[in-house]
């Protein structure tokens, strides 16, 4: 094939434009991609024996709950897996009740009812010395809705207004 001047120029300007477009996309991506502000870290939570069975303790620093579900300690993210509202623990029913669209979880963070696609996400917990340590950098995706390891029965009335 003969590459004459006209042929070359016709391809060249298109190639240059494509190159510039690619550069623009790459630049935009680098500039606009999510900056991981809170990469997560370890939070020391004190002695594990302080967390009594059937209680949920809020850890503000990590925006998470530490629960004792029948002797099992768990760290649960406060963020509802449905659409991200903060899920409060309802002391009277002993369950997590999301105020936004009515998802309800048992104390272990497992699905009971509502539109949520899965149970509450959690974080890795470990014991270092005699202190409980949660690593907010290692997220444990919540269990599927069919998983039922913990007691889901309500201890008492629900906290949601009107119900």
């Amino acid at each position: 094939m003969v590459i004459n001047r006209r042929y070359f120029l016709r391809r060249a300007w298109k190639a240059c434009t494509a190159f510039l477009g690619g550069a623009a996309v790459w630049t935009s991506w680098e500039m606009l991609k999510a900056r991981d502000v809170a990469a997560g870290g370890k939070i020391t939570l004190g002695n594990p024996v302080d967390y009594k069975d059937g209680t949920a303790t809020y850890v503000r620093e990590g925006r998470l709950w530490v629960v004792n579900a029948g002797g099992h300690l768990r760290a649960l993210s406060q963020k509802c897996p449905h659409l991200g509202c903060r899920v409060p623990f309802c002391d009277s029913s002993g369950r997590f009740e999301c105020p936004c669209h009515g998802s309800v979880f048992n104390i272990g963070g497992e699905y009971i009812q509502g539109p949520t696609p899965r149970g509450m996400d959690g974080y890795a917990l470990s014991v270092e010395g005699d202190a409980l340590v949660v690593d907010t950098g290692s997220v444990i995706t919540g269990p599927e809705n069919s998983v039922q390891n913990f007691d889901s029965t309500a201890k008492g009335p629900s906290c949601a207004a009107g119900g």
Partner: protein, 453 residues
């Protein structure tokens, strides 16, 4: 048409067309109007003649948006309900009120909320300016949706206007983008949680959902990065995008011809035949057979008639007929949003608090229907497949619905399908907006309303 639409005169001719300076005593008004300064600004001649009116349009950059003449039917309210025009007016109101707000607003999580409070108490007309901006924004979303619905039922998206419908869908998306990004800016509990819920809907997009959401809000959680991002989108990116698209959209309305029934075979027959460029530069002028009248020019040789076919002129001058109506509608629109702004204050709840979700947390009203669907169906179906499918089909509707008919009786399938989707959307929105309380429980709005705009 030719006799009414002269070509553009050169400067000399234009001067000659000016009303002659009448001898004798002249009023001051006449003296000013015939003076050089006035005539250098308003170059068109006497408006009272058809020629003057046409030249008025030719010589005025703003009037260039309009055709010189429009079919008389376009003037009827029933034709378009002026919805596209009202949307444009609302956008102008939003630009001017928005710029005022920019003088007092800092997009920072530490000061945004305080700025809104100061605007309320410390700035003359500050609260009113904010109210008008907010109500115009809601109204604009509503009007754009109604405009889309009107265009659908009129069948006005069909050939040759297919592409303008696609542009219109782009404008619709940008309008939603405006409203959604603006919603976050006051940084109160309402904005924070509505945007949290709204952006988390994106999470349900298969494969790239989380990536998209993180790109949108710039991190894990809504925070300073999100506020700045939304602000930049709201006051710079989206306005430019909307202006460019709107420009093309309006230009296409003119060039594609108005989708107005002018009798004859097939609706809008007037413009559907590709206009013959040489004989008729304005597509609106190409008329169907029914709209021509023969004029006998002479009888030659007993049998042969020489006749000229010429269109019945059913058009009127844009200036003043169309313009007067537009000015009235613009004033009416302004009156409505100012009245709303005086009567109802834009809400400002407590400052955004990531540690406490208000009950119930609803997305902005135009996404509440989606939220309602999500509470019933699988998120992949209700959150993504359904809305994305509807949006895709709507966007490319003119290329999918190839049926040329525009009369309702000949396009039953399209009308029934569209109406069903519309009814579902309206019902879901109304239920989500008015009939949902804390915990998304069913409530009756007449007992306790949780509607927040």
């Amino acid at each position: 048409m030719t006799e009414l639409l002269p070509s553009e005169p050169d400067a000399e001719e234009r001067d000659a067309l000016q009303p002659a300076a009448t001898p004798g005593p002249r009023s001051r008004r006449d003296r000013i109007r015939q003076g050089e300064a006035w005539r250098s600004v308003f170059r068109h001649p006497n408006l009272d003649t058809p020629r003057g009116r046409a030249l008025q349009s030719f010589s005025n950059v703003f009037l260039h948006v309009y055709p010189v003449k429009v079919p008389a039917r376009v003037l009827r309210m029933r034709y378009s309900f002026r919805l596209g025009f009202i949307a444009t007016v609302l956008f102008s109101i939003l630009v001017s009120t928005g710029v005022y707000l920019m003088f007092f607003y800092t997009p920072s999580v530490t000061s945004a909320y305080g700025d809104m409070q100061k605007l309320r108490t410390g700035v003359g007309f500050g609260q009113l300016m904010r109210n008008v901006h907010r109500w115009s924004a809601h109204l604009m979303v509503l009007v754009v949706v109604l405009h889309l619905i009107r265009v659908f039922y009129a069948g006005a998206y069909k050939r040759p206007r297919q592409f303008n419908w696609v542009l219109g869908m782009g404008l619709f998306a940008i309008t939603l983008g405006f409203s959604f990004t603006g919603y976050l800016l006051p940084w109160d509990q309402l904005s924070y949680w509505a945007v949290t819920v709204g952006t988390n809907l994106v999470n349900y997009v298969p494969f790239i959902g989380t990536l998209l959401r993180d790109l949108l809000i710039g991190g894990e959680q809504i925070g300073q990065i999100t506020l700045l991002r939304f602000y930049a989108l709201h006051v710079a990116v989206l306005p430019v995008a909307l202006c460019v698209l709107l420009m093309v959209h309006i230009w296409r309305v003119r060039k594609d011809g108005f989708a107005v029934h002018r009798g004859g075979v097939g609706a809008f027959a007037a413009t559907d035949a590709p206009a013959d460029a040489t004989s008729s530069p304005e597509p609106v002028m190409a008329l169907t057979k029914d709209h021509t009248r023969s004029r006998l020019l002479g009888v030659v040789d007993r049998e042969v008639e020489t006749a000229e076919e010429r269109p019945v002129d059913d058009t009127v001058f844009t200036w003043p007929h169309m313009l007067v109506r537009h000015v009235v509608v613009a004033l009416g629109t302004a009156a409505v949003v100012i009245a709303l702004g005086v009567a109802f204050a834009a809400p400002l709840r407590g400052v955004a608090n990531p540690d406490s979700t208000p009950e119930p947390a609803k997305a902005p009203w135009y996404f509440v229907g989606l939220q309602e669907m999500l509470s019933h169906f699988d998120p992949l179906v209700a959150g993504i497949l359904l809305p994305a499918g509807v949006l895709l089909v709507l966007t490319f509707l003119p290329y999918i619905d190839r049926n040329p008919a525009t009369e309702a009786r000949n396009r039953k399938v399209a009308i029934v399908a569209f109406s069903i989707i519309l009814i579902i959307a309206v019902v879901a929105t109304v239920v989500g907006l008015a009939f949902r309380g804390p915990g998304w429980k069913f409530i009756t709005p007449w007992n306790h309303s949780y509607i927040e705009m």
